[in-house]
């Protein structure tokens, strides 16, 4: 894979209502393989909205989102869902785990929906991912039996379940203490370090997290702010 994993071309999202609201206006950007990209910007600037569009959760009013070379504007809801299941993983600020299921079952959820592996392989894989995130002893706990940091790690494990090309995370450390935050950042970094051709996109206003990114896109009022700030890493490292 040499081209961008995700590409946005002139993406605009206008919410229709009594007064139409422009969430995103003409954004052009791309996510390259191997990249840890941070999307920053003030609260309410449209960071989350952009992430939903990049992750096919929302449909642009105009413009095109291209995932691994596939144009998506003509796809119907189920086809977009399928593409999401196969190529993307989401982590939100809130863990969004299914409350009745154990950590293991939550991680297996996307695998079972995709059906790429036989049952034993899915189970094995879920155990592996959870163990790699330091949750080996917690696989049979339900979300309400775990701490906030543990729950968020389970959510990350679920995002990694189907071996996605890109993980999209929206303020993944927003609800976590400093120690857990460092751990989550480390996990996301490891994901791209471990396998070539993957990428992580993180929406954050946490400077510590943004500082770890390879590249930063600043969003203001639904647009990519210009001039593009120089890579943070140059300044901080």
């Amino acid at each position: 894979m040499t081209g961008p994993l995700i590409e946005a071309r002139g993406v605009t999202r206008i919410l229709d209502g009594e007064v139409p609201t422009t969430l995103i206006a003409g954004v052009d950007m791309s996510v390259a393989p191997g990249e840890f990209l941070a999307i920053t910007g003030p609260s309410g600037s449209g960071k989350s909205s952009l992430l939903y569009l990049l992750g096919l959760l929302d449909v642009p009013t105009s413009g095109e989102v291209i995932i691994a070379g596939h144009a998506t504007s003509a796809l119907d809801e189920d086809a977009r869902a399928r593409l999401r299941l196969e190529t993307l993983g989401f982590v939100f600020q809130f863990h969004f785990l299914l409350p009745e299921f154990s950590a293991l079952e939550n991680v297996m959820l996307p695998m079972r929906a995709l059906g790429r592996w036989p049952a034993e392989r899915m189970q094995e894989r879920a155990h592996e991912i959870l163990a790699s995130l330091g949750l080996a002893g917690h696989t049979h706990k339900r979300p309400d039996q775990m701490s906030g940091g543990q729950r968020q790690r389970v959510a990350i494990a679920r995002a990694l379940a189907n071996d996605p090309l890109v993980v999209l995370a929206d303020e993944p450390t927003g609800n976590l203490d400093t120690a857990s935050t460092a751990q989550v950042i480390g996990i996301l970094r490891d994901m791209i370090a471990g396998e070539a051709g993957k990428a992580v996109v993180v929406v954050t206003h946490d400077l510590g997290l943004a500082a770890q990114a390879d590249r930063r896109i600043n969003i203001i009022d639904g647009r990519v702010a210009v001039p593009d700030p120089s890579p943070v890493s140059d300044v901080t490292r």
Partner: protein, 415 residues
């Protein structure tokens, strides 16, 4: 359990299990609906079958008589084709069936059943100064078993006793009681023709249908012919068909072949059978209503669950679950309630039907019996299918709504 189907099933199960009490209420609703439907059908069809069985047992399936359906065409009408003639009636004097034994032989060639000849006459029976109107039927005891249950309905004696005395008579037990006659008594029978004989009561009959037992009496054909004053007279052929439901068609064919009025038990009781039809329409309406109301409960539960689970639905959709899968989850939940309900409903139905079978009914028209009930698998299958379809429909609408949810709206609100 793995894969998509197992996943749908296990998610549905967790939703149901987390709401035990609500689920139980829903299951009870369906169970009561199915139970009562089954019980009602058992009672309705049971009593109907019982009634028809009594009717079919107590009367010939088909009665071929020497009567005509219309007054005979008059010579003037035949010649001029348009003559107007008033005041005609069917003939009062019974001509009898001509060549009854030739006709019987011809019918026996194709008839899906058996037949027996008889002589029917109205008479007045007198004993100890008491008079009462009665029907006298002249029969052939050896053939009677072919067409009626009479041989099994004889009390204090047997049908063959008719051979044991000259002018022997068997009285319906109600009739005997009315005039105070007992077996061995000698009674006087005066026929409509004016002929009078003295007859000996040799046995009593009891069919259980009081209308029959209060009016019927039986003699040998020969004795009946003496009463009628017409030797060789046979004015009725009674037919028993193997399949009672075929009686109407068989009667039509007999009438077409012999020219004699041939009345099936269905035709004789047309009014009664159409009353049954009305009853059945009422029953099916009520039963459908019960099962529909039961499915409202299911609709409510599934609706509630989809509302409570909005966030879970959003997350599943955001992970990439197809809408179809979300729909399946809630339809499966609804079917779980439906299936549990119908299984419990079947048990309930059997128990209630069984209980109903113990209720005794006393009727002035019949011997007292237990409430007749029918255990028909078809009732259970139909009630089950209706309940299950209603459950699927009840679950489908909230499921469709849940599946059309846009996850981004929920996630935006929660993040």
């Amino acid at each position: 359990m793995s894969g998509m189907r197992g996943l749908v099933f296990s998610i549905a199960l967790t939703h149901i299990r987390a709401r035990m009490r609500q689920t139980l209420v829903g299951v009870m609703g369906v169970a009561i609906g199915v139970g009562f439907s089954v019980m009602m059908a058992a009672l309705m069809e049971g009593s109907q079958n019982d009634f028809v069985a009594q009717l079919v047992d107590s009367l010939p399936h088909i009665s071929v008589t020497d009567e005509q359906r219309e007054p005979p065409r008059q010579p003037a009408d035949i010649v001029y084709d348009a003559a107007e003639i008033h005041g005609l009636t069917t003939r009062v004097l019974r001509p009898g069936i001509k060549n009854p034994f030739a006709i019987m032989a011809a019918l026996e060639g194709w008839l899906p059943g058996t037949l027996a000849p008889s002589v029917q006459w109205k008479a007045v029976i007198r004993f100890a100064g008491r008079d009462t109107a009665a029907s006298v039927t002249g029969i052939d005891p050896r053939r009677e078993m072919n067409v009626s249950k009479l041989p099994t309905q004889i009390r204090s004696g047997s049908l063959d006793n008719l051979f044991k005395a000259s002018n022997a008579i068997i009285l319906g037990d109600g009739l005997a009681k009315k005039i105070g006659a007992r077996v061995g008594n000698s009674i006087v029978v005066t026929a409509g023709s004016g002929n009078t004989i003295s007859a000996t009561v040799v046995a009593l009959s009891h069919s259980g249908v009081s209308q029959v037992d209060d009016t019927q009496s039986y003699v040998l054909i020969k004795t009946g012919q003496i009463l009628a004053g017409q030797t060789g007279l046979v004015n009725e052929l009674r037919v028993k068909v193997r399949d009672v439901m075929q009686a109407r068609e068989v009667a039509r064919r007999i009438e077409a072949e012999t020219g004699y009025k041939s009345v099936s038990w269905q035709e004789a009781h047309e009014d009664l059978l159409s009353a049954f039809q009305v009853r059945n329409i009422i029953m099916y309406t009520v039963v459908s209503a019960i099962l529909m109301v039961a499915s409202f409960g299911t609709y409510n539960i599934i609706s509630t669950i989809t509302h409570e689970k909005t966030r879970d639905i959003a997350i599943m959709k955001s992970l990439g679950f197809a809408s179809r899968v979300i729909r399946q989850i809630f339809v499966v939940e609804s079917m779980m309630i439906g299936v549990l309900g119908l299984l419990l409903g079947w048990v309930l139905g059997v128990c209630m039907t069984w209980g109903m079978g113990f209720i005794e009914i006393k009727s002035p028209f019949m011997d007292s019996t237990h409430l007749p009930v029918l255990y028909a698998p078809a009732h259970y299958v139909i009630a089950g299918l209706v309940a299950l379809s209603a459950s699927v429909i009840a679950g489908y609408f909230p499921a469709r709504k849940a599946a059309s949810l846009q996850p981004v709206e929920i996630i935006r609100g929660a993040s």
